[in-house]
Subunit: 210 residues, 2 copies
Amino acid sequence: MSLRVQKSRTDTADRMLDLAESLVQTRGFNGFSYADIASELGVTKATLHYHFPTKAELGLRLIGRYTDVFTSALAEIDDRGDDAPHRLSAYVDIYTAVLHKQRMCLCGMLAADYATLPPPMKIALTQFFETNETWLVDVLEQGRSAGKLRFSGDPVEVARLLVSSLEGAMLVARTFGDTERFRSIAARLLNDLSPLASGQIERKPDNPAK
Amino acid sequence: MSLRVQKSRTDTADRMLDLAESLVQTRGFNGFSYADIASELGVTKATLHYHFPTKAELGLRLIGRYTDVFTSALAEIDDRGDDAPHRLSAYVDIYTAVLHKQRMCLCGMLAADYATLPPPMKIALTQFFETNETWLVDVLEQGRSAGKLRFSGDPVEVARLLVSSLEGAMLVARTFGDTERFRSIAARLLNDLSPLASGQIERKPDNPAK
DNA sequence: GTCTATAACGAGATAGAC
DNA sequence: GTCTATCTCGTTATAGAC
């Protein structure tokens, strides 16, 4: 009888994280304050400190949650059982969804703030990128073995190229407020990995209207 | 008789800009303060404000000087009269030199801070990227016409891919403190534009070189 | 779990003497 | 051109009441 739903599905701490995440993704870790979150949520800064005693802990929680969500998304892609090209395309879609919210990848943004981050955040941040690269290496190796992807040399290098280029493309596209910039770059990156892509076609993306 | 050298070649304002530039490139525009520069230079904050009344003006001057230096470097490349592949390689070298100083590209860093920048800085920032892209488009068109570069579609798209990817590669490489990451990515980007680069290393075509 | 209140400090910026 | 001194505000963080 005393059993009840403890909190609404998005409880206070989650809403705080949601807002903090959005702020970091748009303004950077040094571009927001506890006051920003508190006022937007209609609580005091002290309440924020109750849930996240220091900004360093808040930041660490942000990276942890973001990595978890990202990892889940990768697992979901794997579950679909698609071939490598489709998996890469789905991978790009994760970035696209973030950019469409006018945001930068949380960890790409934190990479810019790297020098100013507390050590625990630095460690968690590199782990995010390593997780991404590991997953991509797996996709790339499978794809090449199956003849569905074509690239030379170490898959690790290609994985790093993809992560870096997608992060950079988000960064610059956001500056121009132009998601099309990102789209065309991502399409080229994927196209260059296609066995058919040898520069032979003049250009035939899934772009209908001009 | 009253004629004399007005200031040492690197005068006060220049040294302030040098330090500010370094700070922005490593910590971001919101990651440093006037106090950081003043203490390092052994002057007071008031002195800084004499030369750069507001942080917004300081930032604007930073972008202006950085763009000028960058533009000069591009002009110098043009003067060498090399072919397109060599010009692209020299372009990458500019980025490499910055990264070797453990720094991020000033404008790549500011792109992350974009949402928090004063409007004049935003405008100057986009101009930097546009200047880069314009120069690259020219190189790409020449190179393709001369049969020295191979790529499909609009050179503008390739230029955007290059700028974005190089910026992203710097960003992530700096996080890992690993310049080799950048080097291998840049090499791949350039290699993909080479007429000989068709994944020949791993493939079986009638390709001579290995 | 949230509040009021406040500490302790750093930020950007200005006034005015030298 | 550089200084001292100061202002005002924002920042992270804590103490203690409710």
